[in-house]
Structures are given as structure tokens and as C-alpha cells.
């Protein structure tokens, strides 16, 4: 950048500030109204009224918001662990094992990446009902125990592992499981973490499937829990709804920001000569 004078600087920061406001606006508004009594919000008095955490207390005590969060945490954690395990096992087979029909099978799995789950909910719902799985954690986890995308991604990562390592392991007499566990997984840990992050987010953000398959607060995950709050008796209790939304968004935002900090540190360490 050449010769940035002060007037230029002001314009640049002004632009950045506007963009930041565009992104943060809904957050700020959500947090702010979550601190106001619903009566004030209904009157349209967004400024000047009393500010308190009463809505948070109400959300925690009068709604099942914490239970929803717990449900989502359980579902997302199980999904993540299962996906990392099953996808890595599958990818291992495609990279390190030779068997008949390997390439064909891989293409079949690749093809499933093209099929949207949204288009398959009708038979899946029937399956869930048939096996009496409705309204239970199991049905929120079972369809997502593995993912074609995860297998594809980890296969790419495993292909980066030098073939000599496999040969060395063969010479040492490691069995496939030992090689998988002691060499492949540690070697590809960055890809595994990436997959874990996406599995977790993907599960956490699920909406349609849990909406169809859960009917009680005991198993309802948080996305659909918020839907429940918004559509039920609390309708128009804006203060409490906003407080619940903030409760839901806060953990993910914190994880995101902390994660970014680590991410950036890693980048900086990689920086070299100008």
C-alpha cells in the first residue's frame, strides 16, 4: 500500500466499520433486546428502558433451553466421534487395502455425495417409525454415523501418507489395525480435526430431520427447541426468545473465536522472510 494519508485511513476504517455493522447488527440487536422487558419491546421502546438479565432467568427456568443444548451436545458429540471413526476406517480401506471392486465401490460412495438428504426424508421417516426409533437420540445419530464426504476427504488426506510408511509397517509386521491406529490417524490428525469440526457443526445445525423425528423436549435438539419456543406459548415474548437465541449462539461463537486465535497463531508461525 502506498502512502496512506490520514483521510484515506478514515475512509478505510469507515468502510470496514459499516461492513462490521452489517454483520454484527443482528447480533447486537438480539443481545440488546434480550436485556429489555418484553413489555418495553412491544411498545417499541428499544432505548432508555431498564436493562436486566431477567429474560435469561426466565429462559432458563421457564423453558427447556438448557435441556435442548444438552441434547444437541450429546447428538453432535456422538455424530462427530462416529463419523471420524467410520470415515477414517473407510478411507483407510480405499487407500491401503487392495480388494476387488475397490474403485467401483469408491465411485458409488462418491455418488452418494450428490444425493441430498432432504430428498430422502420420506422413506427415512418410514424406516425410523418401523424400527420404533422415533423420538430418541438414536434416530438423530444413526443416519449420520458416516458420511460420503468424510470418506472422500480423509481418502485424499491418507493418500498424502508416504507409501514407504506402509512398507515399513509391513516389514515390522504391524497388522492393519495397528498401522491405522498408530500411523495413519496421527499422520492425518489435521484432516481428522477438520472433519470433526464440520461433523459437529453439521449435526448442531440440523433442523429438518430432528423436527420430523422428535416430539418431546427430552430429545429435541436446540435448533428445533428454538422453533418450539418461538411457536408456542412464549409467542411474542420477544425478550425471552432473544435471550434463548443468545444462549444458543454464545457457545459456538466462543468456540469459533478461540479456534480462530489458534488458527492464526499457526499461520503466523508459518510466516517467513518478506
Amino acid at each position: 500500500m502506498m502512502q496512506i494519508n490520514n483521510r484515506h485511513l478514515i475512509w478505510r476504517y469507515l468502510g470496514l466499520g459499516l461492513l462490521a455493522l452489517l454483520i454484527l447488527g443482528p447480533f447486537i440487536l438480539g443481545v440488546w433486546t434480550s436485556l429489555l422487558p418484553t413489555a418495553e419491546i412491544a411498545k417499541g421502546a428499544l432505548i432508555g428502558g431498564p436493562v436486566s438479565l431477567a429474560n435469561y432467568g426466565a429462559a432458563v427456568h421457564q423453558t427447556a433451553i438448557l435441556r435442548y443444548l444438552l441434547n444437541s451436545l450429546v447428538i453432535a458429540t456422538l455424530t462427530t466421534i462416529a463419523q471420524v471413526l467410520l470415515c477414517s476406517l473407510g478411507a483407510y480401506a480405499f487407500v491401503f487395502l487392495t480388494f476387488k471392486g475397490r474403485e467401483a465401490l469408491f465411485y458409488v460412495i462418491l455418488a452418494t455425495m450428490m444425493l441430498p438428504f432432504e430428498a430422502e426424508v420420506i422413506p427415512n421417516f418410514a424406516t425410523a417409525r418401523q424400527f420404533n426409533l422415533l423420538n430418541h437420540y438414536a434416530i438423530l445419530v444413526l443416519p449420520f454415523l458416516t458420511s460420503a464426504f468424510g470418506i472422500f476427504m480423509l481418502r485424499q488426506a491418507f493418500r498424502q501418507i508416504p507409501g514407504e510408511l506402509k512398507e515399513a509397517a509391513d516389514i515390522e509386521g504391524l497388522n492393519p489395525w495397528q498401522f491405522y491406529w498408530h500411523v495413519v490417524l496421527p499422520y492425518a490428525r489435521i484432516s481428522l480435526v477438520t472433519l470433526a469440526a464440520y461433523s459437529f457443526l453439521g449435526s448442531w445445525n440440523q433442523y429438518l430431520w430432528p423436527m420430523l423425528t422428535t416430539f418431546s423436549d427430552r430429545f429435541r435438539p436446540v435448533q428445533d427447541g428454538l422453533r418450539q419456543l418461538q411457536s408456542q406459548e412464549t409467542f411474542n415474548n420477544w425478550g425471552m426468545i432473544q435471550a434463548s437465541a443468545v444462549i444458543v449462539v454464545l457457545p459456538t461463537l466462543i468456540v469459533l473465536f478461540v479456534g480462530q486465535h489458534f488458527f492464526k497463531t499457526g499461520l503466523n508461525q508459518g510466516a517467513t522472510k518478506s
Partner: protein
Amino acid sequence: MEMTHKPFPSPTKAKSVAKERPRGFNGHRHDKYVAAAFLGPSLVVLGIFVFYPMLKTLYLSLFLTNNVGRPTVFVGLKNYGTLLASSAYRASFQATLIYVFSVVVLTLTVGVLLAQAAVQKLAGIRWFRTIFSATMGVSVSVAAIFWLFIFSPSVGLLDQLAASLHLPVINWLTTPGWAMVAIIVSTVWMNLGFTFLILFGALQMVPTTLYDAAAVEGASPRYQFLHVTLPMISPTLFFTATVTLIGAFKSFGLIDLMTAGGPNNATNLMVYQVYRDAFLTGNYGQASAESMILAVVIAGLTWVQFKFLEKRVTYE
């Protein structure tokens, strides 16, 4: 499932599938048993929850169904015919196209703007980078609630602003055209965090010497943006465009929470239509036909994306 957060598949491509890596001699005889053990669980899950339902959907789409979804009368392609003839379905398809197109164009435009703003070397810029990626951490229902408040009648921010400025108050979510605007804006906002991160990463990968060379050769900042930046990030732009496109076709949560397909079916997008016909009306045969159309559209788009990533060459 709202899988808007897809990671960037590495540019190493699917076509190298056929390439064999050199291997030792040990253990080959038993490979197929090990492979069965390692791959089995994944295949079972994919079989039950992906392959079977796809075939079943196709099957159901050829039947009339009873109220619990059992096929009753084989009707061939009649369900599809009914859909194509139905002005309601055509309207839904059209609404989806408008929605998808607007979401993609706006997400990419604002995303590039954010990324371009964030690569500037200024004090405190990392704060802005963090802020710009913030909606990555926002789930669909939180986004819907935040925006619902902004657009909601009378108490909402927009109406209050309009009232205080003596502008006409718009019933955002209950006027067909404006309801569409509202869900487009909300979707774009929710997409921005992810789009920003991907595009920002691409911008950072552009070697700075290219800009140095362009500057020395007399290119203005505008010329540099058009003739260096955009061509350099065009593969990423394409990738982001297809991810956003596919995600937009699958949109459900925001619509369910903000407009429930209304008013007057103005925001009744394809997935929502499937949900309505299957789970509210119990018309499973027709909903299956709708699912098949949705699947074909998305499979086609994904295929284009694959083809492109396969051909995509990393420079140098």
C-alpha cells in the same frame, strides 16, 4: 439437514482414483476381509439411510399412497405430470430459482467485498476479520430469530425505523415480495461467515508480487482488482458459488421459522413443498416425485462441481 458448512474439498481430484500406489507384499491375501471390516459399517449406514431411501423415493413417486405412506395404486409418471401441470408447483420452482439466484449473487458479491476489505494491511484488521467470519457460528434458528425480530411487524427494528422517519410501514413477512426479500437477506447474512473465510483464504493465497508487478506496470487498484484479483480467485469463486447454490436449493429452516412458506406460498421453496405435501398433507407419492426433482437438480449441480474440481489445475 442444513449442511451449509461444507469444507473445501482439496483440489486433488477424484480422477486420480485409478492410480495405484506402490505397495508391499504383506497382508494382501487378507485385505478383503480387513476391507469388509473397515468399510462394512459405513456401507451399512449409507445403504440404509442413503441408497435405500433414494430408490424407495423413486419407487414411491410412481404410486399413489395412503395416509401412512404405503403405495396403493401404480400410476407411472402421473405424479410428475401432475406436478408439471400444477401452477402451484411451477410457482414454487420459480420462487426457488429467484431465491437461489439472489442468494448466490448477493452472497458472493458481499463475500468478495468483505474479503477484499479484510486483506488490507491496517492496524486492528484482525478484529474485523474475526467479526466478518462471525456468522459462521450462527445456526439456522438463531439467524431466523434475530432476523424475525428485525422484520417483525410493528415491534421490529425496520418498522420502528420507518415509523420514526415517517416512511410507510411495510409488512415484511406478510407481503409476498417483501417476504422473499426478507428470507433472501437473512440467508445471505447467515452464509457470509463461511463465504468470507473461504474467499479471504483465497485472496491471501494470491502472491503479493503479482500486485507489485501490476503496480509497477501501471495498473490502478481497480484494474488490479479486475485483472489480477478476480482471475486469481475465480476457481474459489466457482467453488463457493456451487456450495452456496446447493445450500440454497436445500433451504428449509429459515423458511419454516420466518414465513412457513407464506404469505400466499410466496416463499414456498422446493424442500418446504416436499415437507408440506408429505408431512402436512400426507400426499407421499407426489412429495416423492418432488423429492426426485429436487434430487436431480442437486445431483446435477454437484456433478458440475465435481467435474470442475477435477479439471481444476493448481497454478505452477
